[in-house]
């Protein structure tokens, strides 16, 4: 039988032949992730942005800031709203006008992981306690969906938050916030001519980056019979069906262990193997992110390292 026809008719046996010789159709060993790249500042209309590629899977994350009045219970905290979008450009399965179920599930996971990891201390987003704080909208767009969506979305989110700069602003006594032009930082309010501003008594907070906690990194693995495959592509995800997503931060702490059902139960041996793969991957991705940040920022790495 011809190879193409065999693959078409019996996709699983076709794939298992590869697995038996410990290699995957794209040439990767089972435990290796696809080539990963991070580029920061891809969108200048956003306050922070990052374009991330893991293999063919491509995600663009952007952070937009708005000023809000903090709630009564947490007067010194801002807030972050996370949303994950799968526009119809990313996959043949998505059609316009119909919301994708996978997108809302990943959106929920993403905001859970970001909360669990305590990456952003919300008090960092405070401008003037009780009066004004930043509301950060983190939107992640999937541009090309080819498996391991949560891993890529999380990396894009972390990178966009690391790239985010809180602009220099001055706050009046009533809690009104005015932008301060960046070139003459803290000197003159941009709208100095407007009569409503009382420059006297305004407190100025300078332009700054967020201090981030230990960043989380995710790795999805597929379990099939005795095999464990790291970073599956879309084809592998539909074929093998039993997935485990492990999120670890750079300190080696487990942030999430997500296994939604599947035919193979996760034994202690599998759990341990997955964790060690994820740990290795977290170190690898952290290095990629660090290099991207160093390329981008003049000042040395602002990411907290252990």
């Amino acid at each position: 039988m011809e190879v193409e026809a065999f693959k078409r008719l019996y996709p699983l046996p076709f794939y298992e032949r590869y697995l038996d010789s410990s290699v995957r159709p794209d040439g990767r060993p089972l435990g290796r992730a696809r080539p990963t790249s991070v580029s920061l500042g891809a969108v200048s209309t956003a306050d922070g942005s990052a374009l991330v590629k893991i293999g063919n899977t491509t995600m663009l994350a952007g952070v937009k800031l708005e000023v809000m009045v903090p709630s009564q219970e947490t007067p010194d905290q801002g807030s972050i709203t996370v949303d994950f979008q799968m526009p119809p450009i990313c996959s043949p399965l998505v059609r316009p006008g119909r919301p994708v179920e996978a997108a809302s599930v990943i959106s929920e996971q993403l905001s859970n992981v970001l909360t669990s990891s305590e990456l952003v201390n919300l008090s960092e987003l405070c401008i003037a306690p009780g009066k004004a704080a930043w509301m950060a909208y983190l939107d992640v767009y999937c541009l090309d969906a080819d498996g391991s969506l949560l891993d890529t979305a999380l990396l894009a989110s972390v990178a966009a938050l690391a790239h985010l700069q809180l602009p220099a602003v001055s706050v009046s006594e009533e809690g009104r916030v005015y932008p301060v032009s960046s070139s003459t930082s803290g000197d003159v309010s941009m709208e100095g001519a407007e009569t409503s501003i009382k420059v006297k008594g305004n407190s100025i907070s300078p332009r700054r980056r967020l201090k981030l906690g230990a960043a989380p990194f995710a790795l999805t693995c597929m379990v099939h019979k005795k095999h464990l495959l790291a970073d599956p592509c879309a084809e592998e995800e539909t074929l093998l069906q039993c997935s485990i997503t492990i999120t670890m931060n750079q300190m080696g702490r487990l942030v999430s262990f997500y296994k939604p059902g599947g035919a193979v139960p996760a034994t202690t041996a599998i759990v341990k193997e997955c964790i060690s793969l994820a740990r290795r991957r977290a170190r690898e991705v952290q290095q990629i992110l660090k290099e991207a940040l160093e390329d981008h920022i003049e000042s040395p790495s602002l990411m907290q390292t252990d």
């Binding site: 969108v43 009045v69 450009i89 541009l143 009104r176 960046s182």
Partner: protein
């Protein structure tokens, strides 16, 4: 979390100062005759185009014209929606969306309207360029996402979409380059940027199949004395011609690179 009162929500804080906050429109041309970004009035923005940006799609293209960044992917020809009536020629289905961070103010209320309008205009601009009879009973989907809006968005979407169609191997009569233009006072500014669009007296968008010398889409806003109309139209067509060359050479390069 309580959302801010409207007075807080309106200003947005950008790396570049937002012009919408200022009351005074900037002067779009310096006394020496150069524009805000240093271009001459009849000079286009630097353009970068690349096909094959989305692997999952049948064809795709990414375009970057100055500050405007757009990605388009094409799916199909594939089965039409069940609800649609039988058609012995193919269908072209378009959809244009803005990313939430693409504009200076996030999630403007008017954005949904704009997306719908762009969707309709993109469809009309491409419809007559695609050989619909080559894929009877099926649908070709053209989906665009504006990643960063920096002026002339629709024109970039149209150009990028025709590249993506070509990349998908959809039979077309010609590529459809599109160019926008803004007029201010006595000058016309080709390939207008965001600020020029916002403060200009009027604007024009032209999409054309240059080798057939056919205009597929044209809109004008603002006041246009008749002499200026023909001048602007000619300028746009010339720019379309140059853009078409760029698009062709870009497509050829990709094919050569892919063949190796």
């Amino acid at each position: 979390m309580s959302r801010a009162a409207s007075t807080y929500a309106v200003p947005s804080y950008n790396a570049t100062p937002d012009l919408s906050v200022k009351g005074v429109p900037p002067s779009l041309l310096s006394p020496e005759g150069s524009r805000l970004d240093g271009r001459l009035p009849h000079e286009c923005r630097p353009a970068y185009m690349k096909t094959g940006a989305v692997n999952a799609a049948a064809g795709s293209a990414y375009a970057e014209f100055g500050q405007t960044k757009v990605i388009v992917s094409v799916y199909g020809p594939r089965e039409s929606k069940k609800a649609q009536a039988f058609s012995d020629i193919g269908r072209l289905n378009c959809d244009v969306k803005f990313a939430s961070f693409s504009t200076s103010v996030r999630g403007k209320a008017s954005q949904g309207m704009e997306e719908k309008e762009y969707t309709g205009m993109l469809h009309k601009a491409l419809e007559c360029a695609v050989a619909l009879h080559t894929f009877p009973k099926t649908t070709v989907d053209v989906f665009a996402l504006i990643l960063q809006s920096g002026g002339g968005d629709l024109a970039v979407v149209i150009s990028c979409a025709s590249m993506a169609l070509a990349d998908a191997g959809i039979v077309m009569y010609d590529l459809v380059p599109a160019v926008s233009l803004s007029c201010t006072g006595s000058e016309v500014l080709l390939d207008a940027s965001m600020e020029e669009e916002r403060w200009g007296d009027g604007g024009m968008i032209v999409a054309a199949m240059t080798s057939r010398n056919e205009i597929t889409q044209l809109t004008m806003t603002g006041e246009w004395p008749s002499t200026k109309v023909s001048e602007a139209l000619q300028l746009c067509l010339d720019a379309c011609l140059k853009l078409a060359e760029l698009m062709r050479s870009c497509l050829k390069e990709q094919v050569v690179a892919g063949g190796q």
